[in-house]
Amino acid sequence: MSEHIVPVRIYITIFLVLLVGTALTVFAAFQDFSVTVGGHELPLNTIIALTIAVTKATFVVLYFMHVRYSSRLIAVIVTSALFWMAIMFALTFSDYWTRCWLARCS
């Protein structure tokens, strides 16, 4: 049960990774990555920005918030948050995308 003390060099590494991630996402934002596939524009800029953000958040959760060294129970709790978020997004968008709400269908 005794707790794990995360070494300082890991904290420093994560800190630097987060800074590099921030610089990267600012740089990427000014490049136009949009591609058109079959008449639909793929929002690659958004996908890249979100990928970097999710990576940064994962590092914070695993190391700064110690989830990597915590019990399975904590990991289950964290995952449950993502699970319920996914339900909220999926159900809402299944509604908005299949009905003529807002300006989408006009």
């Binding site: 000014f30 914070v60 948050a81």
Partner: protein
């Protein structure tokens, strides 16, 4: 101090009678904080949902409004918050190894960085106020009414419309912007308050390798607030930059 704790041979004064030992007590506290953070994730999740929905409906207006935000200040604030997360993590570390002075120093740094973030945020809000970008009639004498730049006008204080964006749709972005950054700032203020309590108790010598659950748990909260900003920064400040010169 409870009698049950003092009756135990190695009982710590902070050990509550319904826990077996300090490890169990700390794990229970951490678990409780994580359950609270899940409710916080759902709370902010609702706003992220609104953002996603309206951005996918009015992409041009959201790009227009987003480009008006100050990317330099946004990026600096991201750095400030990441650094404050680092000093918070270091404060937890120094408590765990029982080094009181650097632990207190790290707490002070975390508070100062948190206040720096809020200061920069206030400065940004003031600039939006000056450009009449406070949505609706939140401020009676300053209703929403930004100026729209004509072709060739490079003024930073006017809106540079992209595609089919309308001023009304830009207003929707600013509702979401102020709701999300505002709620985030409220969480920062609460966090700074909690850190101040930690600082007072740390100076009193309350925490150490045996007992540091409050430092750990408030640290979790602080990191969570950092994560919210990690998502807010690209979504609010960066999403339209590549369209700026179209």
């Amino acid at each position: 101090m409870s009698h049950a704790a003092s009756a135990e041979p190695h009982g710590h004064p902070a050990l509550q009678h319904h826990f077996e030992n300090m490890d169990q007590q700390r794990e229970a506290g951490t678990l409780g904080m994580w359950v609270f953070l899940v409710t916080e994730i759902m709370f902010f999740g609702g706003m992220f949902l609104a953002y996603t929905l309206y951005r996918s409906t009015y992409p041009d207006a959201f790009a227009t409004a987003s480009n008006h935000l100050d990317i330099t200040l946004g990026a600096i604030n991201t750095g400030v918050l990441i650094l404050s997360s680092f000093t918070m993590a270091m404060s937890v570390y120094f408590t765990q190894v029982g080094k009181s002075r650097p632990q207190i120093l790290c707490l002070i740094l975390t508070i100062v960085l948190g206040l720096t973030f809020l200061g920069i945020k206030a400065f940004e809000y003031k600039a939006k106020y000056d450009d009449r970008l406070i949505p609706g009639q939140l401020i009676a004498n300053r209703t929403f009414g930004p100026e729209v730049a004509q072709k060739g006008d490079e003024s930073e204080h006017k809106l540079h419309m992209i595609g089919s964006a309308t001023v009304h749709q830009v207003e929707l972005f600013y509702w979401i912007y102020f709701a999300m950054t505002g709620m985030h700032a409220v969480h920062m203020i609460i966090g700074a308050g909690l850190l101040t309590f930690l600082l007072i108790f740390s100076i009193k010598g309350r925490f150490g390798p045996e007992y540091h659950a409050p430092v750990e748990v408030i640290g979790l909260y602080w990191h969570f607030v950092d994560i919210v900003w990690i998502f807010l920064f690209p979504l609010l400040y960066l999403l339209g930059r590549h369209l700026e010169h179209h």
